[in-house]
Subunit: 247 residues, 2 copies
């Protein structure tokens, strides 16, 4: 494991450790609205602080783009790029400390920490990604060009067959408009096995493992912080990620 | 725990033990079409055999109504009511040994064993129900009039608030017709948190635990073997189960 992946791994471990210490009641306390537009819950803040603590301890001068705080510059968490080292000055850490906050607060054991490392502000510049299942501690990760892994074992997307009725398709329908829902109905009618677990990043990892055959989100609301790490994991697992125009 | 609940508990434990010994490849082998209309997979057969083994060992003369085999009469598994004891001659065991077969075969850790005991062929005559999460071994159960439990701790449905946007609603959309989907769209648009995990019985137990606020299945396909045990667990947890006419 290289030093960047070590850092991503340590971020996930620290987030899991810190959020495991707060009660469900405390986890669900509402704070202000986060940079991503959703209400930040206490568990989001605790998770994000745990992640930033690790970034600072590594002393690298990355820009952190986070679900809750938005852009945080520099290794000290200050908006001050002078703290950057030369070799990491242009790196970006894309963080969703808690993906699946509602599940975490309700006690549904399906939520994750998602963190990626990129060299510019484009998805294609992501070189490292890690997603940890915060219930089980299972970790999914990928380094560009080196394949995708779960707990040290190589993972690959499923070999799709022609038996469409047997497909298991993850779809994010939460808060979807009726218009978009109608556009989805032919897909929904195609398979007997629709799933929605409530953490985009972790559902994309199930796809990378071959447990889902497709994962679809056409709500028009998905954020780069939700998908940055899982995007690389899917690509390195042999899968494909496209936008709604199939680009 | 009374002797009937002991039997249901033992059925779940034996099912979990036997299915844990077969590989995923073996689990997914297709056998004939079961009584419920779906293709029976090897894991369904192994689970059902494990359940019937326990019923026979208890020597009671129940009719078993099972997802795969349909009606099985008598304590020996023969269609012979002369084997019944007088005090149990009119009992029915309603069994879905593996609810969530697709998940089990794909490796998605959300499938269950569902078993109920009834004194007649009506849902209202169910006196005992048990559902085991076959991944974790968590067991949900209820005896009529004595409340609902998970691993020995009392469970209750959630106190619903007026914050509809905060509701977490489980909906079974698999293979739903476009017409029914349209009728669901206002509900789908109401909440930001839709879930579908892939085991009706276990999702109904999440409702009984207060982790979901509602669980909806309007495909018109649900079978009594899918819901018998969870029906009693929800009712005893303070919840309500209604059909599509709200009866």
């Amino acid at each position: 494991m290289d030093s960047i992946m070590n850092m991503l791994h340590d971020i996930c471990i620290n987030v899991r450790s810190k959020v495991s210490r707060i009660s469900r009641e405390e986890a669900g306390i509402s704070l202000a609205r986060g940079a991503g537009g959703d209400i930040t819950k206490k568990i989001d803040k605790v998770g994000e602080d745990a992640a930033l603590e690790v970034v600072r301890s590594y002393g690298i001068g990355c820009t952190v783009l986070s679900e809750e705080a938005g852009l945080v510059y520099g290794s000290k968490g200050k908006r001050d790029e002078s703290t950057s080292n030369d070799d990491t000055a242009h790196c970006i850490i894309v963080l969703d400390a808690i993906d699946g906050t509602t599940n975490a607060v309700r006690g549904i054991p399906f939520y994750s920490c998602s963190v990626a490392y990129a060299t510019s502000d484009r998805l294609s510049s992501i070189t490292h990604g890690a997603v940890m299942d915060l219930t089980s501690g299972d970790i999914y990760y990928a380094v560009r060009g080196d394949g995708a892994y779960m707990n040290g074992s190589r993972i690959r997307v499923a070999n799709t067959s022609n038996d469409k009725a047997g497909y298991v398709i993850g779809i994010n329908l939460s808060g979807i408009s009726i218009d978009r829902l109608k556009r989805m109905s032919s897909i929904l009618a195609m398979t007997n096995h629709i799933r929605q677990f409530g953490s985009n990043a972790l559902e994309m990892c199930l796809l990378a493992r071959g447990l889902l055959d497709a994962y679809i989100d056409v709500r028009g609301k998905i954020r780069v912080t939700d998908i940055a790490a899982a995007y690389l994991i899917i690509v390195e697992a042999g899968g494909m990620v496209v936008d709604e125009h199939l680009n």
